[in-house]
Symmetry: C2
Subunit: 192 residues, 2 copies
Amino acid sequence: MDRLKKRIKADGVAIGTEILKVDSFLNHQIDVELFEAIGGEFRRRFSDVAGKVDKIVTVEASGIAVACFVASYFGYPPVVFAKKAKPNTMTDDSYSAEVRSFTKGTVSNIMIAKKFLNEGEGVLIIDDFLAHGLAAQGLASLVKQAGGKVLGVGIVIEKSFQGGGEKLREAGLRVESLAVVEKIEDGNIIFA
Amino acid sequence: MDRLKKRIKADGVAIGTEILKVDSFLNHQIDVELFEAIGGEFRRRFSDVAGKVDKIVTVEASGIAVACFVASYFGYPPVVFAKKAKPNTMTDDSYSAEVRSFTKGTVSNIMIAKKFLNEGEGVLIIDDFLAHGLAAQGLASLVKQAGGKVLGVGIVIEKSFQGGGEKLREAGLRVESLAVVEKIEDGNIIFA
């Protein structure tokens, strides 16, 4: 997606060899017009399964807005976002999966109430970043625990050098990434 | 907003006298079509200041999607969401405010990087719930620290019996709530 790559080049900040900061338009400040375009691009990429999308699943926080705009292009299926901690209002039975965050240096559980995932449902997983792939793996695990079918994983920015995309594809998941960063070096962002 | 109130009546779950669960359409599973309508309703309520909205500010996680749809009705100003914990990629100077969550029983800091709030900016604050008003107060504090002007606070569901709305209005803030719950009693949700 050229518009996205141009924006990453213009406003992304490379830190060391691992971190790409895109907080000015993606995960702290949000460019909503860009998010609408991202929704449309996912619709194009997943057009072959468009009739089978019963639900869109993501994880809080940054994935939520992307997932909502994707939903608006797929006939408004419900968006369900996994929660990272269990608030005391979440008393229902939940599916859960352990997810490590390399960025935050923490291990946490993500969970979705059982009533929001159903057997036989077609699910698109959407997230803003794919690095080591642990969040997406966790989301796929939640869907599978419920007996749903993961139609694909839609990622805004994949950092391919951290291996998550490869791992998901080897596990048989279809991954569509709108921008694939192959390398971060000397402050430069190099796309695949 | 009738459509919202009907939905709360139909799918909201009253627990005790304090808690209203709306996780089937608002803060765990999201009805994106309803969120679009909510965006349009905020546009109507704040039409008198529409030309002055430079930015929309909310707090992760549930507020993000609402804020994005509001932005789409106000000519796409940037949406900035306050973060609840400081990830190690957030190295810039931040404005911060302490917020207590009665639901989760925790005290946390919310913060926004200084570069995303500017002096003289007109800001709409958007959030899904207004209970004791501490999140909205915290957001207003961040905007004021930066020298911005809070044009108004847009809330999807206000629980007026918890006093947050009164507190904000007494502090001189304009609060527009799309559904005001006056009382939760014997499993019933009573609107103002």
